[in-house]
Amino acid sequence: MSPRHDPVIEERLEEERLRRQRDRARILALLLGAFVVLMFFITIAKTGMNW
């Protein structure tokens, strides 16, 4: 049986894939939230400067 088709390795690969996807989704959500907040403050600042 090749290592790629070993059920234990398959299971661990799937766990690792899910862990990475979860981490990336969390970070992306945080970055998007930060971007929305940043755009809000940029708009306020530019409105105040009458640009």
Binding site: P3, E16, R17, R20, L38, A45, K46
Partner: protein, 303 residues
């Protein structure tokens, strides 16, 4: 539990740490710092959130350059000890993802810069990214020993971008700041390339020590440090900064020239005996930080 080889890029999405590593965060601090100094030395004040966004865009632009550089040089990186553990040569990420990430980050940083500050700053940011990727990485670096001389312009953009983000126009002082970094880059990188020469030779990159030898490189380091010192003194000589900056720049530049002279007189070709080169490399980083810090301090004292 047996260890699993997780190096098949097709099997797994890249870890976020590897995506972050693509941006070369450890070399980004100098770009961010010089960009911030360009912004702070400008004779106008902009709302802090816009200043923060300008610096963020410079950092993201630098990160995009790092990602695109690693995408293009993945094969070369695999041949050098210093870079072989990066995500692409180590096989932890596929090249296409790095390309998409780099291009996406470039567009994002340029558009955000234009929306938050002004489109001249955004154009300069775009020019710096294009210059770094196409002129330096793809064209000059693999072809000529002068790659660092012309390519240094890419790293010289941040203070200019910072200034333009604040003022909306280009003037003499940010151009001098550009010139300081432009002339500082060759001695800085050549000092490093002297003691990692074998790495560059193994990868077939025609860095000056590989092509012209150590003696010629040491001579060039010394000769470049002279116009660099002149550029560092120019803001004071032209009346664009005060005596605090002038005196500090003179002392800092004098030390740089003395260290470059020590490099010039070192005959060694063995990295283990290249103490003066390592000292100059370390000092060159401190020098740039110090020059820009004093320039900002001088400008703020005069207000």
């Amino acid at each position: 539990m047996p260890a699993i080889e997780l190096t098949n890029p097709a099997a797994l999405p890249a870890d976020w740490r590897d995506i972050l590593a693509l941006t070369k965060p450890r070399v980004m601090y100098l770009v961010v710092f010089t960009g911030l100094c360009g912004l702070l030395v400008a004779p106008v004040t902009i709302p802090p959130v816009l200043g923060f966004t300008a610096i963020l865009c410079i950092a993201l632009g630098a990160g995009a350059c790092g990602a695109l550089n690693q995408w293009y040089e993945a094969d070369l990186d695999a041949k050098m000890r210093r870079t072989a553990k990066r995500p692409l040569p180590a096989g932890r990420m596929d090249r296409q993802s790095a390309l998409h990430f780099g291009v996406g980050l470039s567009f994002f940083s340029i558009i955000l810069m234009g929306l938050a500050t002004n489109w001249l700053a955004a154009m300069l940011l775009a020019a710096s990214i294009l210059f770094y990727v196409f002129i330096y990485t793809m064209w000059l670096k693999p072809r000529t020993a002068q790659n660092i001389v012309i390519g240094g312009a890419a790293g010289a953009f941040p203070p200019l971008i910072g200034w333009v983000a604040a003022t909306g126009h280009v003037s003499a002082l940010p151009l001098i700041l550009f010139a300081i970094i432009f002339l500082w880059t060759p001695p800085h990188f050549w000092a490093l390339s002297l003691f990692v020469r074998s790495d560059y030779a193994a990868a077939g990159i025609p860095m000056l020590p590989v092509v012209a030898g150590t003696t010629a490189t040491r001579r060039q380091i010394f000769f470049y440090s002279l116009p660099m010192a002149a550029a560092a003194l120019a803001p004071w000589l032209l009346g664009l900064s005060g005596p605090v900056y002038g005196g500090s720049a003179a002392i800092l530049s004098l030390v740089f020239i003395v260290l470059a002279a020590r490099v010039l007189s070192n005959p060694s070709t063995e990295p283990a005996d290249m103490g003066p080169e390592k000292k100059l490399f370390a000092y060159s980083v401190f020098y740039l930080f110090a020059i820009f810090t004093v320039l900002v301090a001088d400008a703020w004292l005069a207000r």
